[in-house]
Each structure stands twice: as C-alpha cells, then as structure tokens.
C-alpha cells in the first residue's frame, strides 16, 4: 500500500521538475538485476536436500541476504529471482522477510519478482526464458544467489556504458577479482581454475577456458585469433564472482544457442570462440580491491566464512547486523557474539561468531568457528574451524574439527568429528563415537532420493540416527562421457580441498622439454602436485609458440575412447575375433587424425591394462607370463594388429618407441607393485619377441635408450627385464622358466649392489 504511495509520489516528483531532463531518472535508467537462485549442482549435498543453497547460513546469515544486500547497496531497483529446486522455500523466505518482501514498505527495491520455469534444467534455460519474457529493458546485473561482495558497481557500470556507446557489440562486462600469484585460499577452493585471456589495454576478454587438476591435458590451447591482438594476458589468478553486467543482447545470444547450459563454460567460451560469427565482445573488469566471491561449493563456503569473520568483506561482517533481529557485537579475541550468549568461565572463544541463546560450557575451546543460535555446547568441548548451524547440541568432551554440522545435530559426549565431516539436519551421533576421517563422513537422515535412510548403527553408534550419505555425482559441470574419477566435481564436493586419493597426473611437468608429446593417460598416478594449478599458468605461456602443431586435445578424447574400446574387445570372452575392434580403432584414428605416437600409446595402455587386470585375484590371479600370453594371444589377429599398427614397421626406432610406451603404460597401472609390474613388462616383451612383433635388435635398443631409464620408477621397471635382455644378447639359450628367472634376478640385484 505504502509502496504504491511511494511510486505515485515518485511520479509526482518527476512531474515537478521536468526542466532537468538529464538529472531526472528515466524509467530505463532504473537498474535491474537478475538473481539465479539455483545452480543445478549437487555440491552442497546433503545439506541441499532439504534447503536450497541460497538459504544455507553463511556466518549465520542466509546466503541470499548477502546477494540482495549487495544489490541494494548498488542501488538496484528491480529484481527478478529465478528459482529452481526448493522454489517455494525461497519464495516463502523472501515473502516473510520484513526487508525484502515485495509487499514491504521498507524494501529498497521497487519491485521484486519470482519467475518459475517448470522445465528448466540449467541456467541456460532460465536465461532463454528471460529473453522470451521481455522484462529486461536496459543493462542489467546478472548474479548468482550465492554471491558475497562489497564491490561498488558505479565505476564498472559507467565503463560498461561508455564501451557500449562506443561500440554496440560490447555486450557484457564480467567482474573478476584478482587474487595474486601466490597460493590463495579463494583460488584453491574453487576447484576449477578459470583461465581468462584478456587484452590488458582494453579489458576485452579474448578466450575463456577451464582447467582443473584432474584433467590429463594440462595445456590451454590458444585460439590463433588471439594472436591478432597486439597484446594479451593469460590470467588464471582470478576469482570469478559470477557477477556480470549484461545488455539485453546477451539474452538473445543465449536464445540463439539452445544447448548452452553454463554461463561460463558454455556461454562465455562459445561466444568468444564464435566471435567472428556473432561479432559480440565481452569485457572483463578485473578488480584489485573490494571483495567478491561465490559460495559455489563447500570450500568456497569455508573460505568466505573466514573472510567474513576477518572483515575482508566489510560491511558484510557479523557486527553490521544486516539481518533484522541480529545483535552481534565485536568482543575480544576477534570474535562476535550476539545477546544472551552464555560463555562459562574458563572457556575460550577466539576468531568465532556465536549466535543468540547459545551456551558454551566451562573449559571449552572454540576457535575459527561459526556457531548458530540456541546451540548447547557442553564442557571441555573443542571446536575448531567448524560451522555449526542452529539448535545443535554437542556433548561434554566432544571434539569437532573443520566440519559442518547442520541444524539440530546432536553429538554425544566424547565424540570425535574429524576434519571434513558433513553432518546433515537432525542427525544424532551416539556417545563416544569416533568418526573416521577417510572416507569423509557425510551423514544424513535422508538418502539422495529424499527417502529416510536406515540408521547405520556401526557409523553413528548406539542411540544415534543417520546413515552415510552416498555422493551421487551428476554435476552439471561434468561431462557425462568423462571418466568419473576425472570429474572436477569430486574436487568441489567436500569441505576440504584435497587431491589425496585422486589420480593427479603431473606428467606434463616432466615432459615439458621433451620432444615426445606423450601425455599422461587416465591411469598415470603420481601424487602430490597440489600446486599444479599455479604451474599451469607458466606452462601455458611456455607453450604458446607451439600451439599450431599441437594436436593435444585430439589425442585426449581419442586416447580414452581407443583404450576403452580395445580393453572391452580384449575382455569379451565369447568372441575370438579381433577384427571388429581393429576396424573401430582405425575408424577412431581417422576421425581424430591421431598421430602414430598416440595410437602406439593407446594400444600399449590397452594391452597393459588387460594384462594387469588378469593378474588381479578376481580375474584368476594369473602369473605374469600367463597373463601376458593371455592378453596378447587370446584374440586372433591381436598380435598382428600390434605389429602393424602399434609398432608400425621393422624399424628399430619404432620398436623402441613401443617399448617405451609399454613401460610408461605399466607405470600408470594402479595397485601394481613395481616388482610385479617389472615382471609383467618382462613377460610382455618376451611374448612380443616370441610372436615376432619385436625383434632382438629392437628390445636391445630399447634397453639402451636413455629415455627408458629417465626416472627412478622407469629404471626400476627396466631392471626387471635385464635377464631377458641378457638372454637375448646371448641369444643361444633356451627359454628359461620362471623360477630360474627370479633366482637370476636376485643374483642380478646382488651384482648391482656390488
């Protein structure tokens, strides 16, 4: 009612001074914003089973409050909210909010509308729907419902307008926050590293790629068109706040491409790639001050919570009390407490925020944590770097380290909740339960299908409630065809960013200067490399000169497809014929224009994988020689295929390459000790020798080749073949049997030590 009054008044105000046309706010000068309140992702599960991401509390404030307040602080007047999952919850929250409700007289927005799209499966669907509705009349701000930012958009908006006036094709400006070259928690937490190629003089974005540590190809392929610009920078040090200033043409671009789903990976990448077709230009505004980040996964949630506590996002700090009814104040120890918080004598609260009505028992130690309202924390409890939402109960002597405990969780006395645990709503953990840190405990009352899960007493203890929540990965970000272990969503689903237990290939680092373009295959398993991300950047620069000759992206898909095809053919028991597999392989090769090297690699990996599989207990635990024989000769035509395609001729050099390929493929096989791998390599070589695929010269040349021993592991594998090689060199001895071989091996080892 009063809002309408306000509007009428505004109109009257306009009528009063029509002379000042420039200063008067025309209707089209009203700043509009679109909030995407669903991301179609699973990264916050199990918490998002019951509540949408944008209503999860971040520093005890629902995430969407930050976004709305950000828009209000930038003078946005019209807001459209697109909701997907849990749309009723979000609508109810907003309608009940005294500040944001469209009926509220005090709302800073002149209008706030919800738009429901019944059949939306992606953000792309939202934006295509928005295009149809013709609601957007001028430049608008596009944000996600999980944005936390204090950036003032005035200067960005002005620059955007100036660019658009200069050139109508400048359709979008992205706001990015630079986080420097050093490892940064906001950069680590995002999992996927966006790579922006930007013209530093104009700020125009030329190309966009995404990299993540799990991919086999650690290169970014630059579009040749990029080089037509005088100057460009490749930036991987940017935090993408998902904050865009768009013209209505952006929506038209979305509509033109019905298959775009994600604003960055699909839309931005696609529009920039097809620049010559659409002529649209997108600019990046790189901020060196201000704060901007999206709580796009639990690690970012962790990071932003810390930033809010440490006041990086001022005025978004607890003691600003931006939400009605909050009464935080700063106290000693860089902490914030609300009214009616009882902290008993002898307990310590440091770098934390504690909500109203929470009681902390004597001798407890809370640091770096955010605790909601009405929680009961017992005596001698230790809580570190954790997020505990409302109404949780934590028994005496419990320890909670770097975990998220949702509403109404009950943790029994003397429990231990290790780092990375995610405990969902209403779960109860029985007395004295020590949760395991690996695999990460995700405990929920509900299963992924929102059914009540059967309580797992072994996990939550007697009197507990809840079961392990199985992570189902069907993240929108991931490509369905990708191997599951290579899905970057794995990196983003947990609270702690960790590459432990994942296969990270760092091969590209070691082969940087190598002329061989062997890149890691799926199974190359080397550990460490947390900081590969930072090195990517340097490497992309190093590789700039060689981009044209680089067919690196082709072997990537070719390799995995070819390997899978061959292994499947080798596994097939009912079919003796290898011709169809061969045909398929050659087809793939032609389709991808794969190099000889790539084929050799694929074949080597396929056979090695099959052989290694036969070694394992579930496939009969064959001896290495038997396994090698079975793998190679089980199918008619397979040896010939290897001889023709993989080795590709009589030349010694090609045989050496194949030997190396085998050796590397073996290195990549998981769960295979180096002794067994070495034995298998020897057996395979022997088998190939027997089948005339390789000849003596070839094997001896391989033995002599220095690449075969360039790393310690390679050397270790190679050592196991010494017997074979010596036997070949002497050439007149008969086939030795296995026992002899192993005995001789030991002798060899002794010789070595001498």
């Amino acid at each position: 009612m009063s809002k309408q009054g306000g509007k009428a008044g505004a109109a009257a105000g306009k009528a009063k001074k029509p002379a000042k046309a420039g200063a008067d706010e025309k209707r089209e000068d009203v700043l509009q914003a679109v909030i995407l309140a669903d991301s179609f992702q699973d990264r916050f599960k199990p918490f998002t089973l019951e509540r949408p991401r944008c209503l999860l509390p971040l520093a005890n404030v629902p995430v969407i409050e930050y976004t709305l307040e950000f828009l209000a602080s930038n003078g946005v007047r019209d807001v459209f909210i697109y909701c997907g999952a849990h749309s009723e919850d979000i609508e109810r929250y907003i309608h009940e909010s005294p500040r944001w409700s469209p009926r509220s007289a005090v709302s800073p927005f002149s209008s706030l509308e919800f738009i429901r799209v019944s059949d939306a499966n992606s953000i792309g669907d939202f934006l295509r729907d928005l295009d149809k509705r013709n609601l957007i009349t001028a430049d608008f701000v596009l944000v996600h419902g999980d944005l936390v930012s204090n950036i003032q958009l005035d200067s960005v908006l002005a620059k955007h307008r100036a660019r658009r006036e200069a050139n109508r094709d400048a359709c979008m400006t992205m706001v990015l926050r630079s986080v420097g070259e050093q490892p940064h928690r906001a950069a680590t937490a995002r999992g996927i590293t966006p790579v922006f190629v930007v013209d530093p003089t104009t700020g125009r974005c030329l190309q966009y790629e995404e990299t993540h540590p799990l991919q086999s190809e650690h290169y970014v392929n630059l579009d040749p068109a990029v080089f037509s610009h005088g100057q460009f920078e490749i930036r991987s040090d940017l935090v993408d706040c998902g904050l865009d200033i768009c013209t209505p043409e952006v929506l038209a671009l979305w509509s033109e491409s019905f298959d775009y789903e994600l604003p960055r990976k699909n839309f931005l990448h696609g529009v920039l790639k097809d620049w010559e077709l659409n002529g649209k230009m997108i600019y990046a505004e790189i901020m060196d001050d201000g704060y901007g980040a999206r709580a796009s996964n639990l690690q970012m949630y962790d990071c932003i919570s810390k930033d809010v506590l440490e006041r990086w996002a001022l005025p978004f700090v607890p003691d600003s009390n931006l939400v009605h009814g909050q009464t935080y104040r700063a106290v000693k120890g860089a902490s914030y407490v609300e009214d009616h918080v009882v902290v008993e004598r002898g307990s310590k609260v440091a770098r934390s925020a504690v909500g109203r009505g929470t009681e902390v028992g004597a001798g407890s130690d809370i640091s770096g944590s955010i605790i909601g309202r009405r929680c009961k924390i017992g005596k001698n409890v230790k809580i570190e770097d954790s997020y505990i939402w409302d109404d949780a109960v934590i028994g005496d002597g419990a320890t909670v380290i770097h975990s998220v405990l949702a509403d109404s969780v009950v943790v029994g006395s003397n429990c231990r909740i290790p780092a990375g645990s995610l405990i969902s709503y209403n779960v109860e953990i029985g007395r004295g339960v020590q949760l395991q840190s690996t695999p990460t405990a995700r405990i929920s009352l509900l299963t992924d299908e929102k059914q009540l899960a059967k309580t797992d007493v072994a996990l939550v203890g007697a009197g507990g409630k809840g079961a392990l929540y199985e992570v189902v990965l069907d993240d929108e970000d991931s490509d369905d065809e990708e191997d599951e272990s290579r899905d970057p969503a794995v990196l983003q689903s947990g609270l702690i960013y960790s590459l432990a237990g994942l296969n990270i290939s760092t091969s590209s680092i070691s082969t940087l200067d190598s002329d061989d373009e062997y890149d890691s295959d799926d199974d190359a398993s080397l550990s460490g490399a947390l900081d590969t991300r930072d090195r990517h950047f340097d490497r992309t620069r190093d590789r700039l000169s060689s981009f044209t000759s680089d067919d690196a992206s082709k072997p990537d898909t070719f390799h995995s497809d070819a390997v899978n095809g061959l292994v499947d053919a080798l596994r097939a028991d009912d079919n003796e014929d290898f011709d169809s597999a061969k045909l398929e392989f050659m087809g793939l090769r032609l389709a991808n224009n794969a190099s000889d090297g790539a084929m050799r690699r694929a074949i080597a990996v396929a056979f090695v994988r099959r052989a290694a599989e036969l070694l394992s207990p579930e496939h009969g635990a064959l001896e290495p020689t038997k396994a090698a024989e079975r793998a190679i000769t089980a199918k008619k035509g397979a040896p010939r295929f290897i001889g023709d395609v993989a080795v590709g001729g009589e030349a010694v050099a090609q045989q050496v390459e194949f030997g190396l390929a085998l050796q590397r493929a073996l290195l990549g096989v998981r769960d295979l000790g180096s002794a067994r791998a070495g034995a298998l390599l020897a057996a395979l070589l022997q088998q190939f020798y027997g089948l005339d695929v390789l000849d003596e010269e070839g094997i001896v040349a391989w033995w002599a080749d220095k690449r075969a021993g360039e790393t310690e592991e390679m050397q270790r594998l190679k050592e196991k073949c010494r017997v074979l090689v010596e036997w070949l060199e002497n050439a007149d001895e008969e086939e030795s049997d296995e026992e002899e071989e192993s005995e001789e091996e030991e002798e060899e080892d002794e010789d070595e030590s001498d």
């Binding site: 209000a72 050093q182 005025p315």
Partner: protein, 423 residues
C-alpha cells in the same frame, strides 16, 4: 563522468531528496541500512540523523508530547543501534528530545498564561535553543548574528501558531483536551521542526565557526602538526593560512595505495601552498622525530566523551602521546554536537575494527591465509593528553565540558536508549 550516466549507489543526498516522497518507515529503514553498510559515516551521520528525526516529527502520528517523545526515542534507538560506532547519532537524538521537552514545557506555560502578549514574549525568549549560553562563551562572532536572524523568522511563525489557541480562549484554558490539543500539536510540530532546522544549521556551520578561531590559535611561524586532517581541520588550516604564515606537517597512517595517482592530501596541500603555507607530509613512524620542532598538534575528533576523552581516527593517539611527552599543546577541533553525555565504553577504548585490506591486499594469498590482521580504525585518546577543546562556541578546557553538556542535554534523555529497553 558524463552527467547522462547517473550513479546508482545510494547515498545520503539521494536519501534526503527522496524523504519527501518516501514513507517515513522506508526513510528510517534506508538510513539504517546506509549506516550499516557504511555508506553514510563520519560527519554525515549527524546531518542524516537530524533529517530523519525531522521526518519523524513531521510525519508520524502523535497526539501529545509523550507520544512524540517515544516516537523519536524509538527511531533514535534504531539508528544508534545500526551504527554503534557513531556516537554522534545518539547526541543528535538527545538534542532533539531535549528540544521537544523545552518546546512542550513552554507551550504549557503559554497555555497557562492564556494571554497573547505573554505567549509572544515567552516564545521569543526561551525558544532560543539552549546551546548559546553567553556566560560561557568569551568570543562569539558569527553565531549570535545567525541565531537572532533565525529567531525573527521563528517568532513570526509563532505569532500565527500561538494565535490559534488564542482564538478560542475558553477551551484553551479550561479544557485542553478536545480542540486545543490538535492546535497545540500543530504548533509544537512546527516549533520542534524549526528547532531541528536550527540543529541542522548548527551542524552545517560548526566547521566554519571553528575555523573562525584559527588566527587566534595559530601564530605566525608556527609548526603545526595535524594528523589525518578531517574536513574540519582542513577548513581550519585554510582559514588560518589566509592570515598567517606557518608550516603544516601532515601525518598520515595509510600506506600510499598503488592505485592512487596523487600523494595523500594533495588537494589540501595545493590550497595551503597557494596561500603561502608550507606543508610537509609525514608517515606516522616519523612523527616522533618531528615533535620537538612542532609548536602545536591539532586533531579533529569524531566524538568527545563526558570525561574529556576523544574518539579519533586511529593513529592519532601516538601523536597525542608524543605531543604530551614533549609538552606541546594538543588542540582538538570539534563541534558541540559531538560532545557525548556518556563515558566511553569498552568497545570505544578498544577501537572499532575496519577492513584489513587497507594494510594487506586480499590478493596476497599467503598473508590472507596465515595472518590475523586487525585494523582498528578508531583510537581513544584519554583526557589528560588534551589541552584545548576548540568548539564552535570557542575554546574550552576539560573543566567546562560538564557545563556544556548540561546546557545541551536534558538529564532524562541521557540514557534514552535504556528507557525503551530491549525491543
């Protein structure tokens, strides 16, 4: 920037422009969030509070003085809670409450007397707001002219408004309930609003009035140390520069930001240099070395507490201590409206916390991960380090603070935030 590109960021001026068309509640709420988001801060707070309270008096529904008082109290409480780091808001609220009490008391007297002439006299004399107490003030050049000017217009207004109840003397004297009430409400409303206008004028002119004492305080050849000069201090120096030749040493805390194109306080230095005054920029760690050469130290205060302690920008405390050690006079510039009738709380003496990014860039990953950075943006200076309080009513010493406070605030309003209790 071209004028055709309007700024969308809300600020105080936009709020004041929209006051006319917005509902009262929306205005209060907008200011609360401007305060919470730090989009209104520092000296703007006083003006903003007065403007909003003016709207409360003008727009809210009230039938008697008590209702008005409670309206103002509750609005004031919400504003003070929105920005506990800005004590000036509370001062303005108290001033307005005191004003209402004065006007109400005077109205009652007028009604009792019943005669038109008497009411006229009454309205002339005590409506002059309490701040001006000639006894205390040795020199009062500008303000007296100004206030008399205002009084003229005010008494003319009163002539009409007081005449209203005078038309119906029967009811006015004996039954003040039915008809007289709306009329006196109307009168009270306009009187209080005029009073708030005066407070706004006072706030507006305080800096100029303080600056008018500049040539008395600064002598030719002086070396004056200022620390992070506020607008008040800048005006003061520029005014002094028009009459005196002296040297200004500008201490500042902020490390020069890489994006800044100019040295800190370049605008001020240009103006001073144009007037023939030398300026020297100093990083705060070089302060101590210059103190022996300095003749006086000048600060602008954010607030002055009952005990004489100051709320100032962080870093000033070092300068004050240094000056104290070398027995150099410390002069504090602040309008009377910044005098708080309360003692500093614990939070004040600890200092308010700001954004750490003024010291460490958020782009510095290792520092963000590994350091706990506490950036206190305010300091508390204990009273014994301050020698002179230079107000718009002239220079004062600590011993006179109590009487100034007594003149400006009513005792019943001092704890106004406690009277309402928790919402």
């Amino acid at each position: 920037m071209a004028p055709s590109q309007p700024s969308h960021t809300p600020n105080l001026d936009k709020l004041i422009k929209s006051l006319r068309v917005q509902s009262l509640e929306a205005s209060i709420e907008s200011l609360i969030f401007l305060l919470k988001r730090r989009q209104v801060k520092g000296d703007e707070c006083a003006r903003a509070t007065a403007q909003i309270l003016r709207q409360v008096v003008a727009k809210s529904k009230w039938h008697d003085v008590d209702q008005l008082l409670s309206r103002v109290q509750s609005a004031g409480l919400r504003l003070t809670q929105a920005a506990p780091h800005e004590p000036v808001i509370g001062n303005i609220v108290r001033r307005v409450l005191g004003l209402i009490r004065d006007e109400a008391c005077e109205d009652r007297n007028a009604d009792d007397l019943g005669s038109e002439a008497a009411s006229d006299i009454q309205s002339l004399a005590p409506t002059a707001p309490p701040p001006q107490k000639p006894a205390l003030v040795p020199i009062r050049p500008a303000p007296s002219i100004l206030t008399t000017g205002l009084q003229v217009s005010k008494s003319m207004f009163n002539l009409l408004s007081v005449a209203d109840p005078g038309d119906t003397p029967m009811t006015g004297a004996s039954t003040p309930m039915s008809q007289a009430q709306p009329a006196s409400v109307h009168a009270l409303r306009s009187e209080v609003m005029d009073g708030i206008e005066e407070i706004l004028d006072e706030i507006h002119q305080a800096d100029d009035q303080i600056a008018s004492f500049a040539d008395i305080q600064i002598h030719p050849g002086d070396y004056v140390l200022v620390y992070q000069p506020s607008r008040t201090v800048e005006k003061f120096l520029i005014k002094a520069a028009s009459k005196r030749r002296f040297t200004v040493i500008i201490g500042s805390l902020d490390p020069p930001s890489p994006s800044a194109t100019e040295a800190p306080y370049a605008a001020l230095r240009k103006k001073l240099n144009a007037a023939g005054v030398q300026t020297i920029n100093l990083a705060s760690n070089g302060l101590m070395a210059y103190i022996p050469r300095v003749n006086k130290v000048i600060f602008g205060a954010k607030a002055v507490y009952q005990n004489g302690g100051l709320l100032v920008d962080s870093g000033s405390c070092i300068a004050a201590h240094a000056a104290h050690e070398y027995l150099k006079p410390v002069i504090v510039l602040c309008g009377v409206y910044k005098f708080c009738p309360e003692d500093p709380s614990d939070e004040v003496s600890q200092g308010a916390l700001g954004n750490p990014s003024s010291f460490v860039s958020y782009g510095n990953g290792q520092a963000v991960n590994g350091l706990e950075i506490e950036n206190t943006v305010t300091d508390y200076i204990p009273p014994e380090l301050v020698d002179v309080y230079l107000t718009n009513l002239g220079p004062q010493t600590r011993h006179h603070l109590a009487s100034i406070l007594a003149d400006h605030y009513k005792t019943e309003d001092i704890g106004f935030s406690f009277q309402l209790g928790e919402p």
